[in-house]
Symmetry: C2
Subunit: 135 residues, 2 copies
């Protein structure tokens, strides 16, 4: 799809512990903070938290499949992990077009994730992407 | 492990197309750029490229398992995707401690990935992490 300034796209999502475990397997990131309840109990979080990049992968999924869609190429992504994210919890991702350079097919997009029930921002950042559809 | 200023950690890695496909499955990111050779043939890359976050997940793996290790909590990560990354290609990740705030158990770490054969930087960025071992 083409993008216009201030266009906004939202999507709800949640992950299960089985998905966190599969993410750990494919990336090799077996930080026990994500999968070991006994280890996590001794941290400030008290229970396992999701990999930050699993939460952030939602940005890549939405940018590459919906907004603007297939063929999106990532140029950069900043991520601020504001709050831990947990399995079996409803989150909403929100993408907003902040800047367009149609001559270069570039968009700067605000990327945010909110805990739906708590209304708290968990992950914020900024993506710069290229897609021929940005024109 | 404890970290000292300018400490450096490197690790070689490579991913297969099967791993890219599993990453697409668990994250839901089925951008055809990553898995469809016919689609990718019509892009500037000519062949499928890895998900940027699959490459970047190496930083999370190293920070959470080795440098400084288990229990690392991500506060932020900037990513600049300089060059596409491909399957069946040797890459080296390099982490370097740029700044320490031991009173708050914080480290700012430069994160880079280089294509081993070409000697080209593919992914650069900056991570800020917290770990009780940073003291």
């Amino acid at each position: 799809m083409n993008l216009q300034l201030a266009d906004r796209h939202t999507a709800r999502f949640r992950f299960s512990q089985a998905e966190v475990d599969r993410f750990a397997e494919v990336t090799g990131d077996r930080n026990p903070l994500h999968s070991d309840p006994a280890f996590a109990a001794n941290t400030v979080f008290k229970r396992p938290i999701m990999h930050g990049f699993l939460g952030a992968s939602v940005f890549s999924r939405l940018l590459g499949m919906h907004f603007p869609g297939a063929g999106t190429i990532y140029l950069s992504q900043e991520l601020q992990f504001k709050k831990p994210m947990f399995v079996d919890t409803d989150y909403e991702a929100e993408l907003t077009v902040l800047e367009l350079r149609t001559d270069r097919h570039l968009a700067t997009i605000s990327t945010r994730i909110t805990d739906v029930e708590r209304g708290e921002l968990t992950l914020t950042g900024l993506a710069v992407v290229m897609n021929p559809a940005i024109a």
